[in-house]
């Protein structure tokens, strides 16, 4: 079973995303912010990270950089969830090591299609 780590400070978005992914057969780990998400990177195998960009304590860019600095997670695909339309924000996340993004709002089908595309 593939494992996906979700980092988002919104309870409702987190719940929708985890519900969608768990129903599709994924094992889901949850972080309520970047710092909380980092606690899961303790050797456990992770197949994909889905992260929000604006979070308290440690934001999405900081989380992406931290993940990429850990040899075990250097090549894990990272998608960020964003409402940002500004190209520079996307570029910043890509430069930090993100694989791509999913723009909010998205429907569960779109989320699953993108996740499948990245970790198939």
């Amino acid at each position: 079973m593939k494992t996906i780590l979700i980092a988002d400070d919104s309870d409702s978005v987190r719940e929708l995303v985890s519900f969608t992914l768990e129903n599709a057969g994924y094992n889901v780990l949850i972080g309520v912010d970047g710092e909380d998400a980092l606690k899961h990177l303790n050797g456990v195998e992770i197949d994909l990270v889905l992260t929000d960009l604006h979070m308290p304590k440690l934001d999405g860019i900081g989380l992406i950089k931290s993940i990429r600095s850990k040899p075990q997670y250097q090549y894990v695909p990272i998608l960020f969830l964003t409402t940002e339309s500004q190209a520079e924000k996307k570029e910043e996340a890509k430069a930090a090591g993100a694989t791509g993004w999913i723009v909010k709002p998205f429907v569960p089908e779109k989320l699953l299609a993108t996740v499948t595309k990245v970790i198939r």
Binding site: D11, L79, T83
Partner: protein, 220 residues
């Protein structure tokens, strides 16, 4: 109302309360950079979550309000009493919208229009919605031709992505009238790293999808 919408409403009510507390602390203790960041982040969360669960009016409203704080935090405008007053008024308005997102009550509609005008003046934004826009149907029917240069980063394969899947996805969008594949960057065997991707492609694609939808194939 489904479970997720109810969850959003609970969360939004808490976030609005947080916002009010931050603004009150700004009034009492003065403005700090952290407070601006926090206001921006809370608004951003309300905007993102509301759009996810179909609360479009709240999403659009907080988007405009958030823009003010984005301008403030990036130093393009200065925080002012006028901005704080509008934000405080907006907090009450967002509370009303949580129970009336369709603006079915006249009082909420009037309040909404009045606050939106104030916010747009503060952001210096001209109402772009007045400009004629193509309807969804018109957009869907328009056939476009794209030249796609797909030159993946060398590390693509080691990140678990198969470029051939992406080419298949692209083909599913419409008609690929020309595909040129390039292998000239593949080095001689002694220098070859089997984990690196050296190939790249040029594609001419005709489809009715927007550029964003084409880019979505590559998640870029």
């Amino acid at each position: 109302m489904d479970h997720f919408k109810l969850k959003f409403l609970e969360e939004a009510a808490d976030l609005v309360e947080d916002l009010e507390k931050i603004l009150l602390s700004v009034e009492n203790d003065g403005i700090k950079a952290e407070s601006i960041e926090e206001i921006f982040r809370v608004m951003h969360t309300i905007k993102g979550s509301s759009s996810m669960f179909g609360f479009d009016v709240i999403s659009e409203f907080t988007h405009h309000l958030e823009t003010i704080y984005d301008l403030v935090r990036t130093g393009k405008i200065e925080i002012s009493k006028e901005i704080l007053d509008v934000t405080l008024e907006s907090i009450d308005h967002i509370r009303s919208l949580l129970g009336d997102d369709k603006l079915s009550q006249d009082e909420n509609k009037e309040n909404h229009d009045r606050l939106m005008s104030k916010i747009k003046i503060l952001t210096g934004n001209i109402d772009s919605s007045a400009a004629p826009k193509a309807t969804l149907l018109e957009k869907k029917q328009r056939l476009s031709t794209y030249y796609v240069l797909f030159k993946p980063h060398k590390s693509l394969l080691s990140k678990g992505t198969n470029p051939l899947y992406l080419l298949n996805d692209l083909q599913d969008l419409g008609v690929t009238s020309k595909v040129l594949w390039h292998l000239e960057d593949v080095p001689a065997f002694p220098e070859l790293n089997v984990k690196d991707c050296y190939a790249y492609w040029e594609i001419v694609l005709s489809c009715t999808q927007s550029e964003t939808e084409v880019r979505d194939v590559f998640i870029c």
